[in-house]
């Protein structure tokens, strides 16, 4: 009841790692993982005497992101953000402060809502500490190990305007932003590997005309699901505090994945003074008109255009499906399949329901092979179940659907024929089928044997079992 009187106000800070070949200031490889402290050199370790040299590709990627987010690309500067932390080799982070490269843009969500982008600036990533101790958190730790492989990896931090009004919208924003970022080629957008990280600034106010409330910043949100949960918890917490007559203290809070709640890390009073000042080791960046235009011209098609294209060519199709198709970067394959005359309805279903679980392999599917597979299902050469089995094999090891179907014993055994045979056998053995339904595994083998006998071994045993299962209910 009370919650309805409050309006949440949310702004998101998204850090995305750029997929440059080398780090931001040195020639070390920019690769996820690797044995700890193997992608390091005197520069990214911040050893005395070393100096940063800006990676040109990182600037280009940042400009791509800015262009994709409708930002103005401006001459910019680097600043030093000073604070002591063991995973920061220099004990300051080189970032952009009052003169970022991208300002004043926006992102249109598929729902039609426009979210403002205040800035998208370049900065360096830190190393990673692991605290040795029960909780894995710094407070209870008895020691720490630091891996500097990530130190100096280029990041772009994208700061939204406080335009987001619900956890669902926050999720939509991050999904769409991620899809846009990946489409630009600037990042791989892998939240699970930390190459996309989200901090949420959350406050509540009494109605859309009230002034903004005091905000809290939620850190350690590692997935879209956590983002929704963290925001919802935080909204609820703030409303409870206000309803109890309390006031919100501006602070940074840590989202705990286990308890699904947020805990205070530090309040504004304890907030660090970062003593920003212009980085004297780096000259300002002023990408000229020509470079900016080149980036604009070379920008690959973005999700909205790609969705529109799918819609236009496909003609029908559910918006949600198309959004996911593009988000998963499967629209190219889908359109290719359509151009080979395959059935779109079946293709999109197989792509989103089956192929999406093995996304990397799915993106590598051969268009012709996939079109042929869909054709086989459409024509009835394969049942839906068989089609899925063939697809699973194609994703696993590749190969042509015809050969796979043959090797699985599907070839020449039309699925409707198989169904007829099995139905006949069930009808002939009602008692056995009752025992099968009760879970008697020995009977399963009996049925398979009967079917094989009837089909002279042409049928696929697995398909028989699957089909029997569907007859259970």
């Amino acid at each position: 009841m009370t919650e309805e009187r409050y309006e949440p106000v949310i702004g998101l800070e998204v850090h995305c790692e750029l997929r440059t070949a080398t780090k931001l200031w040195c020639a070390c490889p920019n690769e996820f993982g690797g044995e700890p402290n193997t992608h390091i050199c005197p520069i990214c370790l911040g050893l005395p005497g070393t100096l940063p040299v800006l990676n040109r590709n990182a600037v280009e990627y940042a400009m791509r992101i800015g262009t994709a987010l409708n930002c103005e690309i401006k001459p910019s500067k680097f600043h030093r953000k000073n604070y002591f932390y063991p995973d920061m080799p220099k004990d300051f982070q080189i970032s952009q402060y009052d003169e970022p490269i991208n300002v004043q843009g926006y992102l249109d969500l598929p729902t039609g809502i426009r979210i403002g982008i205040e800035r998208a600036h370049i900065e360096e990533d830190t190393g990673k500490s692991s605290h040795l101790g029960k909780s894995g958190r710094i407070h209870a730790a008895y020691g720490a190990l630091v891996d500097y492989n990530r130190a100096g990896v280029p990041l772009v931090e994208i700061v939204s305007a406080p335009d987001i009004r619900s956890s669902e919208q926050a999720k939509d924003y991050v999904s769409e932003l991620r899809a846009v970022l990946v489409a630009t080629g600037a990042t791989d957008g892998r939240m699970e590997e930390g190459s996309l990280r989200v901090d949420a600034n959350v406050s509540v106010r009494k109605g859309p005309d009230a002034p903004f409330g005091t905000r809290c910043e939620i850190k350690n949100v590692n997935s879209l699901r956590s983002l929704v949960r963290a925001i919802e918890y935080e909204i609820k917490r703030q409303i409870e505090v206000l309803e109890d007559g309390g006031r919100i203290i501006q602070q940074t809070r840590h989202f705990n994945e286990d308890t699904l709640s947020t805990v205070a890390l530090r309040s504004k009073e304890e907030a660090q003074d970062y003593r920003y000042f212009p980085e004297p080791d780096l000259p300002p960046i002023s990408p000229g008109e020509a470079w900016i235009n080149k980036v604009k011209e070379e920008l690959p098609p973005l999700p909205p255009q790609r969705r529109a294209k799918v819609k236009e060519i496909f003609g029908t199709g559910d918006d949600g499906q198309i959004i996911t198709l593009v988000e998963q970067d499967l629209d190219g394959l889908f359109l290719g399949v359509l151009s080979h005359g395959a059935d779109g309805e079946i293709a999109i279903r197989r792509l989103l329901n089956e192929a999406a679980s093995q996304i990397e392999a799915a993106r590598k599917l051969d268009v012709k092979d996939f079109a042929a597979l869909i054709g086989m299902e459409k024509s009835g050469k394969l049942s839906a179940t068989q089609c899925k089995a063939v697809l699973a094999e194609m994703l696993e090891s590749g190969g042509s659907p015809l050969q796979i179907a043959a090797s699985l014993g599907f070839e020449g055994m039309k699925s409707n024929e198989l169904e007829e045979v099995i139905t006949q056998i069930i009808n002939d053995n009602p008692d056995a089928f009752e025992r099968f339904k009760a879970g008697d595994e020995k009977v399963t083998q009996f049925f398979v044997g009967q079917v094989m006998k009837a089909t002279k071994g042409k049928a696929n045993g697995k398909s028989v079992i699957e089909f029997l299962e569907t007859k259970k209910s």
Partner: protein, 482 residues
Amino acid sequence: MKLSEQLLSAKEIAVGIKNKTFSATEIVSDTLGRIEKLDGDIHAFLNVTGDQALLRAKEIDEMVSKGEDPGILAGVPIGIKDNICTRKVATTCGSKILNEWKPPYDATVIEKLRSQGAIVVGKTNMDEFAMGSSTEHSAFGPTKNPHNIKCVPGGSSGGSAAAVASGMVPLALGSDTGGSIRQPAAFCGVVGLKPTYGLVSRYGLVAFASSLDQIGPFSRDVDDSVLLANAIMGHDPLDSTSLDIDTPPIKINSDGGVRGLRIGLVSEFLEGISPEISEAIERACKYLDAGGGQVESCSVPSVKQSLSAYYLIAPAEASSNLARFDGVRFGMRVDGKNAEEMMVNTRTAGFGDEVKRRIMLGTYALSAGYYDAYYGSAQKLRTLVIRDFESVYQKFDVLLSPTTPTTAFEIGAKIDDPLTMYLSDVCTIPTNLAGHPAISVPFGYDSKGLPIGLQVLAPALKDDLTLKVASYLESARENAND
């Protein structure tokens, strides 16, 4: 003591080695012997790398015997200020906190020196992290002035200046953030050049104040400084502030002397200087005049506020540059209950008082709420200094001033009075703020027998002009000896 002997210049050594008049091994052995004999009193070196130097000398000799050219500094022994990184050789910055840290890499200047055949014979003493004007702030004890061991050699590159002045080495590298090459050069009676900012790579120079630091040569005569400057100048892709321009070798044509040069005598730099230095300036003006130079008085008003601007900008940058000395990755570590306490304990034990003083100054100058009043204002003043210089260089080719208001002071005289100590850099600081070149050249002695240094300043990239005028002033000494 070989001090009285005729010492060979770097130029003579390189030529002699190439002509096989003597070998690099002989030169290095001789140098090591001299260091052994003299450095007990002077303490110019923190670390003498004799074995490596002899190995290198052998390589140079082999090159010569094979008819290869080892470079313009073939076999020339050189001392390196201990804030310049040398691979596998301890680089201490005159501080305990580095705990004999051995860098895994060579500074760009070291690579350049090596490629020109120079032989590093050791690392020279300095004020901790180059913060100081006397070398008394070294964690390893002060260096003594070879002209009077009761006096300081100046600083922060006091070890390099004293090593050259005492004849231990013909050449040394120093670094100059607010006068740290020129002031000790003046105190020790040697030549010291601070090149234009960006002409010499800073990669591998442990940063004090990044926007002011510049590596430069020490030598006994101007010709040798030209030689060393030519060896170390040039664009370095590892330093983003390094100027990406062609740097043809500097050649001084001393035939014309200073004929036709417009020389400004900066009145602000003459305030409060000692009478004997004032007399030296007068003599220099007459000598320049006699050589056809046009000496006139001029004013650069903002240099008076330079000291204040410098003591905000330099500590601000230093407070950030020195943050990495935290006990985590290298150097000293003093344990604590947690990472934060370990960092605090390490820094408390590892840094000396002067370094702590400047870190605190700088931290304060950058703090929220004070930034505009301190760091912001200082940057504005810096712009003003640059403009003032620009306008005075409309009328003059070079400027002349004393390098220091006094000659070398006694050890201990200013150590407890930081402000007075800071004032010894009043004539040298404005050049760093502007990023211009300036040189200190010896010009006579005071009544106590301590050297007097004169400073020649020029606009950016006119390093050759400072050297040319310095070379002319140097000829006064030869003329007087005749």
